[in-house]
Amino acid sequence: MRQLLQYRPWKGDLHSPWWSVWPIARVALGKLLTRRLFWVLYAFGLLLFLMFFFGSFLLSWAEAQMVVSGEQLGRLGDPARMFRLVRAGLRILNGSQETFQYFFAYQGGIVVVTLALAGSLLVGNDFASKSLPFYLAKPISRWHYLLGKMLAVFVVVQMMTTLPAIVLYGQHAFDDFNYFLNVDYFIGNETGKGPAGVVLLLSILGYGTLLSVFLSILLVATASWMRTTMPLIMVWVSLFFFLRLLANLLVDGMKLDPHWRLLDLWNDLTLLGQGCLGFAHESIKPAPQPEFWAAGLVLTGVCIGCLIYLNHRTRSVEIVS
């Protein structure tokens, strides 16, 4: 070792523990973003996004062509009316609440698969390789550590859902600025229901945040329990597949009370998300659905349960290590 004459004291200001949250998230994200499998799954998600994006682009292009070819089309009927009908029929691509309903539903499936595979990298490794004492011996509380991990998952979910949704929204806004300015854009055009404008933008952000927050808490809890990939996948399959099957069997098959559908966590999430997007409760499929507040209560209860478990789990690491 070098002579200690070269050792220099360091004098500087130390940040508050809250500043540690981002480095913890950054390290977790760094491990994930260097994995090829993540980019493969992200590419699948992008394919879905591109389908929506170019679908909307095609629709706008077709509308422009209809305007140009108005004289030829005029023999068939009123082009503007024809186009309104097309847009109303293709609500999945017209930037309305249905567009984002389907977008989040499809992207959500990719997100759940990605998180099942990434959970051990993002969180579980710290428990499996006993890295947790490294973090907890620093001047941060266990909640700063957990928040850092949740932030990493939050960013991943946002990258795959909210960010592409915002880009889709932006595409429609650039196409027709009234889409951004007029909350009653679709109602006025008779091309759809639900809000547009800033209300729709906030709804998208709300839906994305709901997904991100819930999935981040759930993943950190399950990954700290299971730690390695295969058991984590099995738990997530149980939570998002088997519980869904069970709920459908109980409600749709055996015609039991719709509150049994609350067992399906993904349904609870999409139910609340569609509520954010402005869907009326009665219009949400599959019917019947439990109330919005019941879904919110279940998700809140699951989150609280996860947080209690995480508090216990990290405390036992402090004792044992």
Binding site: M1, R2, S131, P133, F134
Partner: protein, 310 residues
Amino acid sequence: MFIELHNISRSFGSNHALVDVNLALESGRIGLLGPNGAGKSTLMKILLGLLPPSSGHGRVLGQNLATAGVELRRAIGYMPEADALVPGLEGAEYVALAGELYGMPRTQALRRAHEILTLLGLDDARYRKLEEYSTGMKQRLKLAQAIVHDPSALMLDEPTSGMDPAGREGMLDLFVRLGKEHGKAILLSTHLLGDIEKVCDAVVILHQGRILCQGPVRQLCRRRHDRYRLQIQGDPNGFLEDLRLEGVQVLHDNGRGEYRVQVPESWTNQAFFKLAQLHNVVVRGLQPDDEDLEEMFHRVIEENRDQAPG
């Protein structure tokens, strides 16, 4: 005052890891000695504010143990016994991350990480993954992450574990210099008495959750009036033979004219010189050979065993 504890106890169910621990230690280089299961790691975690005591109260570096865990860990650099590495990171990233977790700004943490790694001889390995580090390199890396933010105190748990002799010597020299030249308070927990002897001025002996003794090593090691260190010049054979005949036991001969001897009760120092004169041997040095740390440690453990009820 570095550490001040009053009646600290900690139990895990029916297991009493610490029982009525009272400590008053000034800043310095302090060794924490004890066999496995003595409670050293539990005590360290309490001092770091990671574990609350079941009863009692205390202060470390003036901070209240019960309420100031975060401030304590900011002021203390902790080098754990276990690896506690973050897989997938490189050496420089790992130490810089530690700096950021201590609260350093990122650019300063990175700069300081490189500086510390160079100081500890890990400059060539700074861009290697942690999984590729040898045991000795991991120990130095753990020390690097403990000192990156230049703490005022260090808590080191088995810091030389698994190191080769040269690396161990270097590490121990570093601790002495950090304590003497840079004024850092050091708490060194180890099984290796040699490490304590080389580094520490004071020692705390812990056994079955209780403090058996604490204080400066020189005060705790008893003066032995029946043992001496003897340095002679000349042919030792006849001299040593006569010593043995007089009842003197030669405990150690280093082959260079230096001996440790144990004398009978009635012996006087003059007898050494008389015998030396008889055999034309020059006595170059004669000092009382006090109890060393290992002897003191075993004595204290035995005394405690004798005093233990039942």
